[in-house]
Amino acid sequence: MHTERHQREVGFFFSLFCGIILEIMTDGAIETNPDKIEQADVVLGLPTWRAEINLPWVLRQCAQGLGQYFPFHKAVIINADSSGQAEAGRVFFETGSLNAGKIHLALNPASNGKGRNTLSILQKALRLGAKAVAILEPDAAAVKPVWVNNLLSPVLQGYDMVTPLYFNNKYDTPLTSLLVYPLLRCTWGRRVRQPLGEERAFSRHFMQILVQEYNDFLSPQILEDNMDIWSTMVALSHGLKLCQAYLAEPKPHYCLPGRTSEQFKQVGKMLFQTLNSDSSWVNIRWSKPTAFYGLELRGSEPPYNSFFDREEIIQNFDRCRRTSRQIVSSLPEIRDLMAASDCHLPVKIDHSLWARLILESFCLYQKQPEMLSQILDALLPLFWARVLSFIEETEKMNSRQVEDFFETQCRIFEQNKEVFLNQPGRSNPAV
């Protein structure tokens, strides 16, 4: 009741500001569409849930990109906001964007995630008849007009989904490089290097699939914070055509242990649950590349230094280890695997041990799905041990050499999947 009133208040503000009547959409979002736009060829979506300070900058970059690369397409920028603050809509409409129409969707500020915001953008884009939609992080200071081209063009050329390829430093995004990338690559068999990146683009066909599957997903709350990885997994499971778009500017993702620990559990939950819901990946052998777009813009080394506070990671490792000691002792599969490798904590975790830990943990989850949270808690200190091992091994390597390190890791994950599935007595892990 309170949130409904709040929505009405926000809507009333917009109607005063824009001088128009608002439309309440079927999904509960309040739409402000001052130009009464009913059709679009391409859509740029900006999902916001707090006062994103860079929104005007991102908006101007988007508008410039649309004018520069898509002058003959009818373009619309949609901001789906769940901050509950009228300020977000005001900033959105006040910022000039000559090359595109604008639609604002005010959502119920019920959660902190942005999954619902992205879904609302896709639903609206479908109603507008859009052929391609790109979602951009509305707080990304690094966004450039060329991002608009690199994300939308592959979709207009026939790809169903475009994921970002950032110009990362070697120590950026350890969660992606050490867990998500190798696990998705060894299961679904496609090499999507940044499956977690927020910037991405969708074809009309894929939007229809996503909207349907979102409504069918058993734990919609999980999707709030994990829409990006979930959409990658849906694309992989449907065998859609994927392209990775190079986004020519660096986008630093400093590894902050506290936040990464939280993400590890969230993303781990999403990965395990989603892999468990579709068993067809079991039959996929080895991996294949995707197409790429915009790689000619590539430089040699990311132009910023990596930031990794080793002491903080060690402290985090110790903290996680203390809290999960009891859990590890109650999970014999993980405990035995550690013992069989003749390792003691803190442990050096190489490619092979890491791959087995992840695959064994997934198998354990298969047998005891109610234990998922505990399994991930037990894995967390081991993840930090893996991060520390990774830092030590790659300290003197450049970014290209570290990519070779990740490539080797992925190949070992793929080999272990074979071994893992063929173990005598091992039940099919995804059935």
Binding site: R193, Q244, R285, W286, P289, T290, A291, L295, R298
Partner: protein
């Protein structure tokens, strides 16, 4: 019979690869440059391409982008004298790579694995 396309500007490499791969039971066609490569692929419909990176007339990594855009799932194995090609991210569109050698056992093993993956 499984058809393999070998693209290399060195005649002796084309000859070596052809003879050895034919001995393995593959049908082999060759091209000495990237000229008309997409048309050749369209016409001959190979199951796999072995592609030289450094050719005098073409950059193999640029050809790789063209192949991948038109033939999303066609396996491409890069063949190169040096592994410095990895500096170029365009190489990520390849399924696999081999360092050139007169011992083709590695190439044969990679071909077999990638043909299995493509099935």
């Amino acid at each position: 019979m499984i058809k393999i396309l070998v693209v290399d500007d060195e005649a002796h490499i084309r000859l070596l690869y052809s003879e050895e791969l034919k001995d393995e039971g593959y049908e082999v066609i060759t091209a000495e440059s990237g000229e008309g490569l997409l048309e050749l692929i369209n016409r001959e419909n190979p199951s796999l391409v072995v592609l030289d990176i450094k050719m005098t007339s073409h950059n193999g990594l640029d050809l790789l982008q063209d192949i991948r855009n038109q033939y999303y799932d066609l396996p491409v194995i890069l063949s190169t004298a040096y592994d410095s090609f990895k500096e170029d991210m365009k190489s990520m569109a390849a399924n696999d790579y081999v360092i050139k050698s007169f011992d083709l056992s590695e190439l044969k093993s990679r071909i077999k694995k990638n043909l299995e993956t493509a099935r």
